[in-house]
Every structure is written in C-alpha cells, then in structure tokens.
Symmetry: C2
Subunit: 503 residues, 2 copies
C-alpha cells in the first residue's frame, strides 16, 4: 500500500478533524499537518468507548482473541508504510522499527493466546455449605474488565508502547475499550497503526467505539482524558514530571482512578570484585552496547555502574571510555529530548565530585555518549546524581569498599531494574545485595544487561516510585492485563444469569 495519511483523529470509526492543527517535526523528510485535538474530541471518543463497552465488555474471549490477531495481521500488512513514516518521524533506524513492529504484533498475539487459556480470570469458587451454621452460600469470583481506558503513546516506542502497544493490547484483551492520546512526535506512525486497528474492527464486526486515537500536542487533551468521568484507568509511559502531573489529576478526581505510569529509572549495575577481576573488559564492552543502543533512549538503559575503587575499577572505566569513543552520533527522537540530554549532562558535569571521563558535543538532534566518574561519597551526598538523564550517558560510581556499595544500593530510589555482575566468589556479597535491590526494583538480573525487555509471563516492567506509580503492576508481559481488571463476586446467582465464563 502507498503511504496515505488523513492527518485526522480516529473517533469511533470516523476520521475527523477540526480547524486546529499542528505540524509534525520529523527527524528526516517534510513536516506534515495533523489535527490538534481538544477536550470536546476526547469527550466524544470516551463516550463512544463507554457505549462500546456494553457489548465489547461482554464479548467472548474467542472473539477478542480473533480481534487481537486481526490487528496484528493488519499491522503486518502495513509494515512497509509503518517503517517508512516511523523512520522519518522518529529518526530510529529501519531495522529497529521492523523489530519493534514484530514485538508489537507478537504482543498482540501473546495476549490473544493468554486470554484464551482463561487463567487471567482468576476464577475462584466456594461451593455452598447448606448444612453449616450459618449456611454458606455459593460464591464465585472472576476478574471482569473495568470499562474505558485512556492510553498515552510514548515517544521512545512509537509502536510497542504507543497506539497498538502493550497498554492498548492489554486493555483490549481484558475487554476494555481504549482511547489513545497519540504522541505528537510520531502522529503519522500512529495514524497508520490506527488504520490497521480500524480495519480489524471492520473485519471482526466490533463496535467501532472500542478504539479512538486523538492526535495533538496540547496538554489540555491529556488532562481531559485522565479526568473524564467515564475513564476507569490510565496507562502511561513517559517522563517523571509529566507522569506525576497526570497521576495527581487522577488522584484528585471526585472518583479517583488508577494511573499506571512507567516513569523511568537509572537502572544501576553493581559490579562485584571477582567478576570485574575476571572479565571487567567484557562487562565494560557489554555496557557500552546496552548504554548506547537506540541512542540510550530506553527506560531500562543502565546509566550507573557501581564498582570498587582501585586498579581494576579504573581499567573498567578506561575500557568503557574506549568503547564509547567509537560510538557514532545517533539521531534522538525529538529536539526536546536532545536538548534535555545536553542539559542533563551539563548538570552532572557541574556537580561537585564528578569527573568527566568522556564528553562530547552533540549538534541539534544528534547524541554521542557521555561518561562520568564519581565516588561513593559524592553519589551519596548528591541525590540528583540518581536522576535519569534520557540518552547514552553513563556514570561509574567508585566505592571504597563493599559496605559503601551496600550504602549506595540502600540510597537508591525505585528502579525498573537493578543488575548484578558477579562470579561464584562474589556470592556472599551478592547475598547481601539481593534483599536491598529486591525492594528497589521490579526486576533483578545477573550477568546481563537490562535493555531488551522480554514480553513474557514472568516479566515485571515496573517497580517502586518513581520507576512506576504502582509498584504492584507491570506494563510489559501478560501480567499487565491485571491493571484493567477488577474482581467481582457472584453469590447464589442463578446459573442463567452468571457470566458465561463462570457457568
């Protein structure tokens, strides 16, 4: 198919757009004009979502699985256009967008099979005990969809965390209609994916209110979405500042709703002495790859390496420096992200106790890596050093001894991931670190790098604040469907009136 864009919102099956527009700011190619949404359009989309819930919320799991698979098929059918517009808008390379498309369709198909097996319903049954004093009634429990869900597209995953990304897939799988506030960094990519979803809606004969995409760049639409009385929950991936503002709006509603925000992380790695001794260079080179992949624009980018001070720690820094020097400039997602990267680096460079190991000049939207080094004492004294700088910026924290390494671990804020690099001789120190790190992060890994988040049953992409706003939830993997479900008990309900899945 040729790339054809309406530049409009998709509201319940209709492409609509008013007088207000905004211009895209692609990394390559020409800017395009898109409709710029308003609270009125959010309202229309959410009302259509609520109306669609009356049927979609009671659809069979088989029908929803077929719908999810149809969306995946329709995305695949538009693969070339998605990559064409996606690379223009985001500056991400073609191979990355092709891979991310596979991740996105894989995610949709995974949720299709996940709901078919029915375990997510968490059905529980207490049979009646009529002879007990007092008699126990028949009680059955099942998870039910919550209603319309608001989803915010993320700048750094134009496919896998945006229009038909993980939040949308999980909500649709649960039985919840979705209203997406598209990210203004990739409106064209969002539109093509919305076209795919609409095609699947038509193919499956589903109420078109089940999905809407509102384009725009104003804060007012996001605020209207999270405050709409018919929205039951929100999925968000983005910055701490923006996410916290929306979280606060959700909490202040007359009827508060959950805001599932994934707000980022510095993803520290702890390098234990035997591992550094045996394979410091290998770890350093692995780090260079993980830190600079996708211009470092991953939520799980490992920004901090904690190592014992001394010759082996210094060698690690030198190897990392040598590796990072060879990394070419990479295009960042937006001018704003590139500017924030530069100012974040300056702020760190100006912090007392921090040494610049490798600095660089980035022009406009391009990024090259930075590497800084500091001491455990300086880290512990400067809380800001633990704040995320989005991009390929690494910092090595050299601690005086294992006790200080523990202190650095204890000082951490909530993280998406914490990593241990350890050899068998490091096991005792690993055992001391494990209970500390387990409380700090949603995922603990050993002898690997946190980028490349597996979409699977056992994945947790979340963690204590500010990694996420709900430490009990994950935004990746099949468990993420839980965010859009609520348990309901049915007591002595006649068989014919029970939901089909409980009969």
């Amino acid at each position: 198919m040729a790339l054809e864009l309406t530049g409009k919102h998709l509201i319940a099956g209709k492409w609509v757009g008013g007088d207000k527009t905004f211009s895209s700011a692609p990394a390559h190619g020409e800017a395009r004009t898109f409709a710029n949404g308003s609270p009125a359009e959010i309202d229309a989309a959410v009302k259509a979502a609520e109306a669609a819930f009356l049927t979609y919320g009671y659809s069979t799991r088989e029908d929803r699985a077929a719908f999810l698979n149809a969306i995946a098929d329709e995305i695949e059918a538009r693969g070339a256009e998605i990559t064409e517009i996606g690379t223009q808008e985001t500056g991400l390379p073609e191979a990355r967008l092709n891979g991310e498309r596979g991740r996105t369709t894989g995610q949709l198909r995974l949720f299709a099979s996940h709901i078919l097996n029915g375990e997510y319903l968490d059905r529980r049954y207490d049979p009646a005990l009529p002879d007990r004093t007092p008699p126990r009634p028949d009680i059955r429990l099942m998870e039910r969809p919550i209603g319309p869900v608001g989803v915010f597209g993320a700048s750094n995953f134009p496919l896998a965390f945006s229009t038909a990304g993980g939040d949308t897939a999980a909500a649709l799988a649960a039985g919840c209609p979705v209203v997406v506030k598209g990210h203004n960094a990739h409106p064209g990519t969002g539109e093509i994916v919305a076209q795919a979803i609409l095609a699947a809606i038509n193919k499956c004969g589903i109420d078109a209110g089940v999905f809407s995409l509102i384009q725009g760049e104003g804060r007012d639409i996001g605020e209207a979405l999270v405050q709409h009385p018919l929205i039951r929950a929100v999925g968000f991936t983005g910055s701490l500042r923006g996410g916290r503002a929306l979280f606060d709006l959700c909490a202040r509603r007359p009827e508060p709703i959950p805001f599932f925000g994934e707000l980022g992380s510095v993803n520290p790695m702890f390098l234990l002495p035997d591992a550094v001794s045996a394979r410091g260079d290998e770890i350093a080179n692995g780090w260079v790859g993980s830190l600079t992949m996708g211009a470092g624009q991953f939520c799980t980018n490992p920004g901090i390496a904690v190592v014992l001070e001394g010759a082996e720690g210094e060698a690690f820094v030198e190897t990392a420096k040598a590796g990072l020097e060879k990394v070419n400039a990479q295009t960042m997602l937006t001018d704003g992200i590139a500017a924030a990267y530069r100012s974040g680096a300056s702020k760190i460079e100006g912090t007392e106790g921090v040494k610049a190991v490798l600095t660089t000049t980035c022009d406009l939207r391009n990024a090259k890596p930075y590497l800084f080094a500091t001491t455990g004492a300086a880290w512990l004294a400067n809380h800001e050093l633990g704040e995320e700088v989005f991009g390929p910026l690494g910092m090595v924290v050299a601690v005086t001894d294992t006790d200080e390494m523990l202190k650095v671990a204890e000082s951490l804020e909530g993280q998406l991931t914490c990593t241990l690099h350890l050899d068998p001789g490091d096991a005792d120190l690993g055992r001391r670190l494990m209970p500390v790190l387990e409380r700090k992060a949603g995922r603990i890994l050993a002898n690997g790098f946190p980028t490349g988040v597996e979409v699977s049953d056992a994945m947790v992409h979340g963690g204590p604040y500010p990694a996420s706003t709900n430490f009990g939830a994950t935004s990746v993997g099949t468990m993420s469907i839980r965010r859009f479900l609520r348990p309901v008990s049915y007591q002595n309900i006649p068989h014919a009136l029970l939901p089909a899945d409980l009969r």
Copy 2:
C-alpha cells in the same frame, strides 16, 4: 485471666506511654485512661517495623503460618477478657463479640493455610531459550511483601477489622510488619488483642517490631502514619470523609503509596416483580433482620430496596414497617455514630419527595429503625439519597416501571454489594440488571442479604469508589493478601541467590 490493662501503646514489644492521655467513652461501665499517641510514637513504631522487615520479610511461609496460628491461640486464651472489655466499650452484645472473635481467629488460621499452599506467590517461569535469536534468559516471577503496612482499626468491628483483624492478618501473612492505629472507641479491647499478639511474638521468637499498636484520639497520629516515608501501604475501614482525607495524603506523598480504604455503601436491593408477588412478605421480613442486625452498623447493611410501585410494593412496605416497629432499641458504637444516625435521618426526612413511613426517637446512644419511602423520580433527582446513613435506616424506592428500575441502577455510585431478589419469571429483567450492577459493586447476590460477609477465597469486599478507594482490591477473603504484595522478576539469578520459594 483477669482483665488487666496497662493503658499504654505497644511499640515493638514494649508497653510505653507518655504524659498525653485520653479517656475512653464506653457504652457501659467506667471510663478508663489510655495513652494518647503522637507522631513521635508513630515514628518509633514504623522504624521498628522497617527493622523487623529485614528478617520477617524473609521468613519462611511455615514460620509465618505458625505465628498466625499462635496469634489465634492467644486470642482464644483471652476470650473472656476480650468479650468483657469489648461489650463495655462498644455496647455490642456478648454473643456478637464471641462470634466476631471466632471470625477473627478463623481469619488468622485461614491465612496461615492460604500461605502454606503457596498459590498466592503467583510464581511464573519463562525458561531460558539459549538458541533463540536473541536468546531468552531464564526469568522467574514471584510476589514479594512490600514492607511496613499501616492499619486503622474500625469502630464497627472491634476484633475482625481492628487490631488483629483482616488487614493485619493479610499483611502479616504476606510478610509485612504492621503498625495499627487503634480506634479510640475500643482502646481496651485493642490492648488485650495486642497482648495476645505480643505473646505470640514471644512464643515464636519473632522480631517484636513486626507489630505495634498506637492508641489515641487525635487526627495527627493517623496523618503521621500514612505519611511516614517507610510505610508502603495502608489498610482502612471507616467513613467516606475520613477515608478520603487519608487517601489524599497518601496520593500527595513525595512517593505515593496505595491507600486501601473501604468507605461504605448503601447496598441496594432490587426486588423483581415475580419475587415480590410470590414472597414479598418473606423478603420484607428478611430485610428487617438484615437491616437492623447489630443496630445496622455493618458496611454491607442493605439500606435501599427498589420495587415496582403498586399494591404489591405497598404491601412490601407495610410488612417491613410492621417488622421494624417490633425491633427494640439497640446501643450504638459511639455517641458520635448515634448523633450522625439521627442527623442523617433528619436530612432524609427533609428531602422533597420522601415520605416517612416509620420514625422514632432515639435517646443518647440508642437506635431504633427508621423507614422512608420515595419515588424513582425523587431518588434520581436527589443524589444525597444515595449517601450512606450508618445505622438501621431503610428506604424503599418505588419505581414506575422496569425502565426506571434500570435508571436507578445506572445512577448508583460504587457499592460493596448489590442484591437481586428474583424468581424464575424475573430472569429477563435480571439479565438486563446484571451488567449494570456488575459495574457498580464488588459483590452481586441473589435471593439473600448482603450482611454476613463470608471470609473465603471467592469473596470480594470492595468495589468502585466510594465503596472502596481501589476497585481492584478486596479487604475480606484470601485475595486481600494481594494488597500487600508486589511482583518481582528474577532474571538469570544464580540458584543460590534466588529467594527460597523460587529455587
């Protein structure tokens, strides 16, 4: 054992109390003096809880089960004193307190067996796929305890929702230390239960920081508890106003935490025509019993009956009136609750379109039932009629037809329960109501009454706001343990470093 009270707080195994005191206001017998807590005492208790988590959070399920069973044993050993002080303080009859004690110990034992079977850990395992491109690492997921939990005792369940009640049992079962802010309506009852917990701590050799009870009547201690940086979640049962204030404090923290508040409900019943025809009197008499049990001081008290207007509806009202007239005055839990009951009744009586069917004069702390009748139109026009009045107050809403019955259902705020009374000929109307009610309540029941909440696997005691502040959670039943857990992924972690439950 003889009734012996220190009148002090229990902080990590020590009975402590400063200069500040308050006086209890028992329904019967003499007032007693109790320590009146301060934020400093909350701080000491929470810090001890955090210290205890370092061992208790890593205890085996077998050890925690033994501890829960020991608490139940120690409560049983103090049964006579608990009932003695409990009846004095709350005015609840002896049989009720004995029954509630059984519910409390049963709940503790249920959680002991629940954690032993291990299903609550929700373990998930994605085995490594080394030959895949890219290779998949070994990923394992398990639910882990979150850390110190704050619990607020409830006035209406001095045992089952207070010191060693459902929230405490669930948190301790999960592996979380607990700091209880005791309800000032039953400080002596709370102290005896705390004595039982301390005895179990000593018997099992557990860090005494795992449990503290802070007595007091000031709002400052509750506010200090929910805002303490080391508290990870809060369990609360109480009023909408008080609960919302604490919810807001939790949401506004620098690091927001979940506030699991169960804030009450009017628990409407829908009486379908064939059922009213066939057994209107039976339903009316059942309602009288459920509505007035325990002076109507249950969260699941069914305050509203919706019925079609006409002769059969009027007969239902008359039967209910006749039954309610025979109910004796009952002592309410506190003077404040009795005063709120009277003012709530006056407000309803003064609402346009409301007819007083049965009014009463309650003196001081005593309550007799009220019965009001209104029309569907008046109900729909007056949102306040849907607000809970705590006590034995019933309202019959007579609707013109089944469409108006649906409208009343659609107008409801979130509820703990909704009830259908229906006969086989009512099935079509039941089918229309089910999807509406399912979105309004945590539990839907048929041909029964919502009081007498079963503590079991399939129970949901929760629901959309304002029934609870987290529609995804329950505060009764084994599923309530989820509130105090968070999922953690372990990726490629060496066997020896995995938590025992994942090896």
